[in-house]
């Protein structure tokens, strides 16, 4: 089979996994300044799936698409260090304040400008935890969507076979290409950055970054066009501003409150190994241990 053109949707998020005392502001909103910005973990799982397809089917290209402020270009570089070929930064003041509906509209407009066979996204981002953007993008583009994927078994004659992780087991489904897949954290972790890829792409920058950079690598950018990370604006993707930002976001935050979890259902444990293992697993998973 010839290579595929894959788009990976990725988001830069505040690292909510190692939350310190100053992670929340007094008003209950996330204090983004106190949390390091990272590649959304499940988007890394998604990237790994794309890279595995690239390993299996030579000629495959992996393009990252991310929406965010200028600094989100770091996500594209991080992706390229791991094996992605290029990426687009969807950035415009008009996108600010977008909820999942507006975000998925913006992303779907951008995707219409990019040639692709397959879109892969992480299941959800750790800041919002909605798991809505992937499915909404698929709907807006009229594509089949396969959520909760953890393994891509094969791609034969424009049909992709995928293993999904569901609450009570696994399910294997096939879908025609093009389609959109969202990937779970249970899928294999993303490979580490590669030294050569890093050295090749570390000077990759958007025009905005290049203009404000301290070091002067203009010449390098002229000689090596692949170092340019394209920025896409509202105009570039021909989006209607009425559907973007706060205006395009029906989600209204009424109030934010701290919720103290109270266990609804109790679980009785015995002293056998199975229950102990389960308990350890739970304590590690909710970061009480480790």
């Amino acid at each position: 089979m010839k290579g595929l053109k894959i788009i990976v949707l990725a988001k830069q998020v505040p690292d909510t996994r190692n939350v310190g005392k100053d992670a929340m502001k007094a008003d209950g909103t996330v204090n983004r300044a106190a949390l390091p910005a990272i590649f959304n973990p499940e988007d890394l799982n998604a990237l790994e799936q794309a890279l595995r397809i690239k390993d299996t089917y030579p000629g495959t290209t992996v393009t990252l698409l991310t929406m965010g402020p200028g600094r989100a270009a770091e996500i594209i570089r991080e992706g390229m260090y791991r094996g992605a070929d290029n990426g687009y930064l969807l950035t415009d003041r008009a996108f600010a304040g977008s909820d999942t509906l507006a975000t998925s509209y913006a992303i779907s407009c951008a995707i219409k400008k990019i040639d692709f066979d397959l879109i892969i996204a992480g299941r959800q981002a750790i800041d919002g935890d909605t798991a809505q953007v992937g499915p909404q993008v698929a709907e807006k583009l009229g594509l089949p969507q396969i959520t909760y994927a953890e393994h891509i078994n094969k791609i034969v004659k424009n049909r992709i076979t995928i293993q999904r992780r569901l609450e009570r087991g696994i399910e294997t489904v096939t879908a025609p290409l093009p389609c959109l897949i969202t990937v779970n954290a249970t899928a294999p972790e993303c490979r580490p950055r590669n030294a050569k890829q890093l050295m090749k792409f570390k000077h990759a920058k958007t025009v905005t970054e290049l203009q404000s950079a301290v070091e002067d690598y203009y010449k390098l950018h002229e000689d090596r066009p692949y170092l340019r990370i394209p920025e896409l604006s509202v105009i570039d993707v021909a989006a209607d501003t009425n559907w973007l930002g706060l205006a395009g976001s029906p989600t209204k935050v009424k109030a934010i409150e701290n919720v103290v979890f109270v266990a609804k259902d109790a679980k009785q444990l015995t002293a056998d190994q199975k229950d102990l293992d389960w308990l350890m697993g739970e304590l590690v998973a909710n970061h009480t241990l480790g």
Binding site: D15, R191, R193
Partner: protein, 571 residues
């Protein structure tokens, strides 16, 4: 998100040493590769930035994969199945992660798929991997063999073998045999030239071979029939794919259990000659061993770092008599001593590495163009220093690493003796460092040349003339006194030795003299570090106090020792 590079700012500090400018300039040779390879640096800042960022990858893999795997690898260990080694699951995972990240063949030229890194970042990576898992560091560190091939093998062999490393090939150096350990001149494994096949055939047994079942092995073998010494030995490169070699067994060791130590049987195993016949031991293996000693230096510092961190964390967390034990003088003294040993041996490690870097870069350059007079002089100076600093590093780093691991376990008390904490593994792993690649006793034999030829003394006098911070002159005054004392000690020993023509006398005191020089050198290095970072002031001051007392002790011993006392020690 543990990152062993980012959580230890010492490394960046040593990476930013001013000599790096010279090292990178030599290594990159006017940055000629920048038009041929997309990942080659365009200037000094770019190259140094690449070192920094790639080390961040190493630190990430060490913190996230290799470190967390260390315990299971230690428990599982490798096994032999049908004459082949099967790594522990974690070992395989570690190797794949590093290979996929492009971190095998770091110092090889780019034309062979390498990163063309200088020694400093490569050794730093070795330190990081060792902190994560010392046993695994051996498997990864054997990429040194590629460096030896690059230095001495023909173009054909290089084209054949070197690109494999980048693709993840593992390596081994097959030197020792049942009757040839420290004394490699006694190697018996036979290499015979098969006229019909037009290649060399290996027959015999190798023992204590780290990672013996590797894809590519460098084998020291007797190619000259009828010889019995080192001049009859040549170096061969063996490709496992060609068959003829099996693993008879692997050793059950005290530590570094993840690293398979193999007994190998060669039966008509085809191999290719590296370089010239008869130079196997006297030239190539010597070079290989120097690299390996630097590697053990890095490994030792990595283990010591791990041990220190374990001790520190435990002392903070363990409470007795109503407070954390770190607040008891007996404990905090140990911790500070450990910390100083880590800092001092690390400064010695990177100083030595820089010396090796400069002379290696010059000797590579000399194969491409004629060096001018100044360059030739520099090559000689750096090589001479590297030759006496390498055994000093191996000696001190490995001994300190053992001491630090010992004290760290002590801080853990009874818990440290249990399998529940990583320190028991670290303690066992540490124990090999002052044994393999030349025991401490053999490092002294190599280093004593630096004492008798006056290379150390000259270096110490040169250090005296270096610029230091005026407020730290009290440390320099101590060091000058200590240097005078060292000079006196050397004279005392060599006088007796010369008069009585008794080499035993010099050998008997050799370690004392080498250590006296080493202590002073390490304080000078820390003092030099204060020029770039005030934090080292504390370590220089702490180290000079210990060093003074340690040297006093040695001086007292030498002064109160006569030749006739030697008899009491003889067995």
């Amino acid at each position: 998100m543990a990152n062993f590079y980012l959580d230890n700012k010492d490394l960046k500090f040593h990476l930013d040493h001013p000599l790096m400018k010279k090292i990178i300039a030599l290594k990159e040779n006017n940055f000629v590769d920048k038009d041929k390879f997309e990942y080659a640096p365009v200037d000094f800042e770019d190259a140094l930035d690449s070192y920094d960022k790639v080390l961040e990858i190493v630190g990430d893999i060490c913190g996230e994969i290799i470190g967390p795997n260390a315990e299971s690898v230690d428990h599982e260990g490798p096994e032999v199945i049908d004459g082949r080694v099967k790594y522990a699951r974690g070992t395989q995972e570690n190797h794949e992660a590093l290979a996929n990240a492009g971190l095998i063949g770091m110092s090889l030229p780019r034309q062979y798929g390498g990163l063309n890194f200088s020694m400093v970042p490569y050794v730093m990576a070795a330190e990081l991997v060792s902190r994560a898992d010392a046993g695994f560091a051996n498997i990864w560190g054997l990429q040194d063999c590629a460096e030896t091939l690059n230095e001495f093998a023909s173009a054909d062999l290089k084209n054949d073998f070197l690109p494999r490393f980048h693709q993840g090939a593992t390596a081994a150096m097959d030197l020792t045999e049942p009757d040839a350990g420290s004394d490699l001149q006694a190697v018996m494994l036979k290499a015979t030239y098969d006229e019909k096949r037009g290649e060399w055939m290996l027959n015999g047994v190798k023992r204590f071979i780290t990672n013996g079942d590797a894809d590519v092995s460098l084998v020291l073998a007797r190619s000259e029939d009828g010889t019995t010494d080192g001049r009859g030995l040549s170096l061969f490169v063996y490709d496992k794919a060609h068959g003829g070699m099996t693993v008879r067994r692997i050793e059950n060791k005290l530590g570094i259990k993840g690293s398979p130590t193999c007994e190998l049987v060669f039966k008509n195993a085809p191999a290719k000659l590296v370089g010239d016949r008869k130079l196997g031991l006297i030239k190539y293996v010597m070079s290989l061993m120097n690299g390996a000693r630097l590697g053990v230096g890095a490994q030792s510092v990595g283990i010591a770092e791990a041990a220190y961190r374990e001790g520190l964390a435990y002392a903070k967390e363990r409470a007795q008599f109503g407070k954390a034990i770190i607040h008891f003088p007996a404990v905090y003294e140990m911790l500070t001593d450990m910390e100083v040993k880590v800092k001092a041996s690390r400064s010695l490690l990177y100083e030595t590495t820089r010396l090796v870097d400069v002379y290696k870069a010059y000797s590579h350059l000399s194969t491409e163009r004629t060096l001018d007079k100044v360059e030739r002089e520099e090559l000689k100076t750096y090589q001479r220093l590297a030759d006496v600093y390498t055994p000093l590093l191996k000696l001190f780093a490995s001994e300190y690493c053992n001491q630090v691991a010992y004290d760290s376990l002590q801080i853990h008390g009874g818990s440290g003796y249990m399998k529940d904490y990583p320190i028991e593994r670290i303690y066992r792993d540490a124990r090999i460092t002052n044994i393999y690649e030349g025991t401490s006793q053999l490092q002294v034999v190599a280093a004593i040349r630096g004492v008798t030829t006056g290379v150390y003394l000259k270096q110490l006098r040169d250090y005296e003339a270096q610029e230091i911070r005026p407020d730290l002159d009290f440390i320099r005054r101590d060091l000058i006194e200590m240097t005078d004392q060292y000079e006196m000690a050397v004279n005392l020993v060599t006088e007796v030795n010369g008069k009585e023509e008794n080499n035993d006398y010099l050998d008997f005191h050799a370690r004392r003299l080498v250590e006296m020089a080493g202590h002073i050198i390490m304080v000078y290095l820390l003092l030099n570090d204060t020029m770039r970072d005030a934090e080292y002031e504390k370590y220089a001051e702490l180290m000079v106090r210990t060093a003074k007392a340690e040297n006093q002790k040695r001086m007292y011993y030498i002064q109160n020792f006569e030749l006739k006392n030697l008899g009491m020690y003889k067995k």
